[in-house]
């Protein structure tokens, strides 16, 4: 029995089109019922996320008619009557399995190597399983997909390293402090990037967050959201002895923290390690500060460089993952009782 994948993703279509084809979670069981009735698919599953809408099916009929039937169902279900070019793709047999494994491993995601998609695939599978739209073949295929995703995660570096400025800042903080919950964070300036980074720190356990901003109302609002405390902009230096992480993103035209000032403050801090994250342009923190002992200073370019390096490494690692996935897909084809032309990818006709 052929295994097919038909759908559209962020690679092939704009969001305006993806949102038209999206299935709500509540509608999926009925949609699967109709799909199986109308196309004759023996087993089927629908994966619908903000970046992709895909139907995975095992059909009794040969590949081309089955692919055409699934495509017709997708267009008819969403009442799509406009002309199409290459937006909808279809993969059959081993190619389809490879695609599923790539999706589960985050290799086909907008952020290469992200892990959220695996949870979404699992959820889609559980929904189809609960409503008895999967059988021996799809169960085996999806269980193998979850195993491959686990293997890829543990044996390769595809998910290592953060690829956004905020998460890189958190990663650095975790290399200095073993538990962010015990280390007070001072956010100076509540701009957009500063706010995102503060939220990233909060999501990883930072609980003692002080916010200082020229507009005290804005500081109050952010502090309230993060369960922290707002302090007047002119008073932040007074809090410094207790602070371990500083996140600065003000619009000040000159340095608000100089080396001479920090050296005085470090004595009051008893030389405990201090992480300074300067995401302001122009910079808030004097670059000379990096020479002060037990102080770790990173500016926006440093963080971006780390994020870019991580992304580059993920891309390099993707080639290893593809090879592993190809082998796993080819091995699974006969084991799952599937027939298929291993390298066939059906066009969008």
């Amino acid at each position: 029995m052929p295994f097919l994948v038909i759908g559209l993703s962020h690679h092939s279509s704009p969001v305006t089109m993806r949102e038209r084809f999206a299935f709500s979670e509540a509608a999926i069981p009925d949609a699967l019922e109709k799909l199986r009735r109308q196309t004759g698919a023996a087993e089927a599953l629908i994966l619908s996320t903000c970046n992709r809408v895909e139907i995975y099916a095992v059909t009794a009929s040969p590949d081309p008619p089955a692919a055409a039937a699934l495509r017709k169902f997708l267009l008819d279900y969403h009442r799509w009557e406009e002309p199409l070019e290459d937006e909808i793709y279809c993969h059959i047999g081993a190619r389809g399995l490879e695609h599923l494994f790539q999706v589960a491993c985050g290799l086909d995601s907008m952020v290469l190597g992200e892990t959220e998609i695996l949870g979404q695939v699992k959820k889609a599978y559980e929904l189809a399983l609960r409503h008895r739209h999967t059988g021996g073949s799809l169960n085996k295929i999806f269980q193998r997909a979850f195993n491959v995703a686990k293997q890829i995660r543990t044996e390769t570096n595809i998910q290592r390293g953060c690829v956004s400025v905020g998460s890189v800042a958190v990663e650095l903080a975790e290399k200095i402090f073993s538990s962010l919950g015990k280390h007070p964070v001072l956010v100076i300036g509540a701009g957009e990037t500063g706010e995102k980074t503060a939220r990233a720190l909060w999501s990883r356990g930072a609980r003692n967050i002080l916010v200082s901003n020229r507009s005290h109302e804005r500081a109050l609002a952010l502090a309230q959201e993060l369960g922290g405390r707002a302090i007047p902009f002119d008073d932040w230096a007074g809090e410094f002895p207790a602070i371990d992480i500083v996140l600065s993103s003000t619009a000040a035209p000159q340095h608000i923290l100089t080396r001479a000032r920090l050296e005085g403050l470090m004595k009051a801090r008893k030389n405990r390690p201090l992480l300074l994250i300067d995401i302001a342009v122009p910079r808030d923190i004097d670059p000379e500060i990096k020479f002060v002992e037990n102080v770790y200073l990173y500016n926006i370019d440093d963080l971006q460089e780390i994020a870019d390096n991580h992304l580059q490494q993920r891309k390099e690692e993707a080639a290893r993952c593809q090879a592993l996935i190809r082998d796993k897909a080819r091995a699974l084809l006969p084991a799952a009782g599937l027939i298929g032309r291993p390298d066939l990818a059906v066009g969008n006709g």
């Binding site: 290592r160 390293g161 290399k175 200095i176 990096k290 770790y296």
Partner: protein, 280 residues
């Protein structure tokens, strides 16, 4: 009493030699782990050290069984005991995957101690019987050697601290990719191991007055080991006081731990050879 003869496989030194070869392999492998920035949890190094430790333990057991007492009776045995303490502690700590990379720092140190211990001059045969005739002496030797083991481990943690600290300070990518523990934890580990070593050393040295009573012929005033031990004790006391009372933390503390242990390693054998009370 001579214990170096006999069939090769019956000689405990052979097993220790094999252990040192494995430690050497581990030290070479560690260079690759350093270069790769400790990005993956690595079992190979742990297994190499485990195999080395098994042979090392067997060598010590054979010696111990032969004399029916703790095998810390000459410089060779003392060095093997210190190395064994370090590797045994690592094997326990290394059960935690996040701390397994400690092995890359442990391997060069125990390899160095092992090569040093194998020098023929250090394995001097006992006279009529081993020097350590009673439990008190064995306890004194075991406690002080355990303390050197703890100091060795603390210098290993300090080395890890300096590696990560350097990478963080100079924005090396491997700082965030490595599996090394955070630097505040490494500093805590260094400090705790130093305290453990210091307490063990203090306890070991506290037996000296009782040992002198047992051997009135000993003249401690003329023994260089006495001022040396006092110096080592003061060195570590100073390091701990500076750290806890005068905020001498971070790099300085780590360098202090490494420097103090290097001093112990470089002078321990010479002082023992000069010490009449430690001539076996």
């Amino acid at each position: 009493m001579n214990y170096g003869n006999g069939v090769l496989w019956q000689n405990p030194r052979t097993y220790f030699l094999l252990a040192v070869i494995l430690y050497g392999c581990s030290a070479v492998y560690s260079i690759f782990l350093w270069r790769r920035g400790f990005r993956r949890d690595d079992h190979i190094n742990y297994l190499l050290l485990l195999a080395g430790a098994a042979l090392h333990t067997w060598a010590m057991i054979q010696r111990g069984l032969r004399f029916d007492r703790c095998p810390v009776n000459n410089l060779y045995e003392a060095m093997t005991f210190v190395a064994w303490t370090i590797v045994a502690a690592y094997l326990v700590i290394g059960l935690i995957p996040k701390l397994r990379h400690l092995g890359a720092f442990v391997a060069p140190i125990i390899f160095g101690i092992g090569v040093f211990a194998l020098m023929p001059a250090l394995d001097v045969p006992y006279k009529d019987q081993p020097q350590f005739r009673n439990g008190l002496v064995s306890l004194h030797a075991a406690l002080t050697l355990l303390s050197y083991g703890a100091f060795g481990l603390s210098s290993v943690a300090a080395l890890m601290y300096l590696t990560l600290e350097h990478d963080l300070k100079f924005h090396k990518l491997r700082a965030v990719l490595s599996l090394l523990p955070p630097i505040d934890r490494l500093e805590k580990i260094t400090s705790r191991l130093l305290w453990a070593g210091f307490l063990l050393l203090t306890a070991g040295l506290a037996f000296i007055p009782f040992l002198v009573k047992q051997r009135p012929e000993l003249r401690l005033a003329a023994d260089p080991k006495v001022p040396w031990s006092l110096l080592v004790w003061l060195l570590y006391l100073g390091l701990l006081v500076l750290h806890s009372r005068f905020a001498q933390s971070g790099r300085r503390f780590a360098w202090g731990a490494i420097g103090a242990f290097t001093f112990v390693l470089l002078t321990f054998w010479g002082v023992n050879l000069l010490s009449p009370a430690h001539k076996f």
